[in-house]
């Protein structure tokens, strides 16, 4: 059961970040050509794979409890960041991520930027697509690495993240438009709940606590965190209803931004 949830968490985290990266890549590729853009995408993907391939096995050399304490702490911090932003967006305190608006802004930027050829590449297209994919993918890379807290976790999470990347890329190629209909905030909310739950489970085990019921406790934690998060959304929606106020649109977001 934990394996399924681990797969889903890595898959959806990767999907949601790749939807955001796709918006940038599409805007640059459509306006300035695909060659330099795809070289940037490929370079960023290789860099992310190198981070997972080097850091993942290195971390697993730590004693299991120390490893689980570190990754549990990281997952808790990441999970609470994702959850906090998703709750603020779901309740109206933060504007929803608008892929169409970001696409239009990136399109205008790519059209107006001067051409600068370096190493046989359009440097603007290369750097923008590299940064877009690398920064959006960095958090996914860390999530994949931290899933090494479970036996066989890194390969499984890598497959999940790569599957999401391929599905989003194929959808982008077929549609040739940003995937603005993907319910990004709902996915982020779900990923936030799953990451926070894994963080509680592994972090506490790593610090020396013993869960009643063993692995089954994870499902109880998941239900608990989901309940707390849904209650928080209702609380903030009520608070928001008392205010006649609309948040400003979200500007483009970089890495680390859930």
């Amino acid at each position: 059961m934990n394996t399924t949830i681990l797969f889903l968490a890595a898959f959806f985290a990767s999907a949601v970040e790749m939807v955001e990266a796709l918006t940038i890549v599409l805007a640059v590729g459509v306006t300035r050509g695909w060659r330099s853009t795809m070289v940037g995408v490929g370079a960023a993907t290789l860099a992310l794979a190198a981070i997972i391939g080097s850091l993942g096995p290195a971390l697993t050399l730590l004693p299991l409890n120390a490893f689980r304490l570190v990754v549990g702490g990281l997952l808790l911090v990441f999970g609470l960041q994702w959850l906090r932003k998703a709750i603020l967006r779901a309740s109206g305190f933060k504007a929803l991520h608008d892929e169409d608006a970001i696409f239009a802004r990136e399109l205008a930027g790519a059209r107006s930027a001067a051409r600068d050829d370096r190493a046989g590449l359009d440097w603007y297209s290369f750097t923008l697509s590299f940064k877009g994919v690398f920064l959006e993918g960095l958090e996914v890379a860390f999530i994949v690495i931290t899933f090494g807290g479970s036996r066989g976790g890194i390969p499984l999470a890598s497959v999940a993240a790569a599957s999401a990347l391929v599905i989003v890329a194929v959808a982008g190629v077929l549609l040739r438009a940003p995937l603005s209909r993907v319910p990004e905030n709902t996915l982020k909310f779900g990923v936030g709940v799953m990451l926070t739950s894994f963080g509680i489970f592994w972090g506490s085990e790593g610090a020396g606590a013993h869960w009643p019921g063993g692995e089954i406790a994870y499902l109880v934690i998941l239900a608990f965190v989901l309940g707390v998060a849904l209650l928080a959304v209702r609380w903030l929606q009520r608070e928001h209803a008392h205010l006649a106020w609309t948040p400003a649109p979200v500007p483009g977001e970089a890495g680390g931004e859930a």
Binding site: L69, G72, G73, L74, L76, V77, L80, Q81, L83, R84, K85, I87, L88, F93, K94, L138, E139, T196, G199, I200, G203, S204, G206, A207, G208, A209, H210, W211, P212, A217, I221, F224, V225, V228, A229, A232, W235, L236, E239, H240, L243, W245, P247, G255, G256, A258
Partner: protein, 69 residues
């Protein structure tokens, strides 16, 4: 020097995010679990309680900061 500062800032934003108190609270909570477990006291409840407290306080700060003055 500027590059070192920029890299440091990037990793701080990446790991800690918008509210450093949440990250500090997570460290404190897991430290509390370790202490209780060391003293042979039941400790599994600490992290779930900490998550409720940290999330509530962080959301309260966020909505206060977001309200127009």
């Amino acid at each position: 020097m500027k590059i070192v500062v920029a890299i440091g800032r990037f990793w701080w934003d990446f790991v800690v995010g918008d509210d450093w108190r949440v990250a500090a609270g997570v460290v404190g909570a897991l430290g509390g679990v370790a202490l209780l477990a060391h003293w042979q006291i039941t400790a599994w409840w600490v992290a779930p309680v900490a998550v409720v407290l940290l999330l509530t306080l962080s959301l309260r700060r966020a909505i206060r900061a977001a309200q127009p003055r």
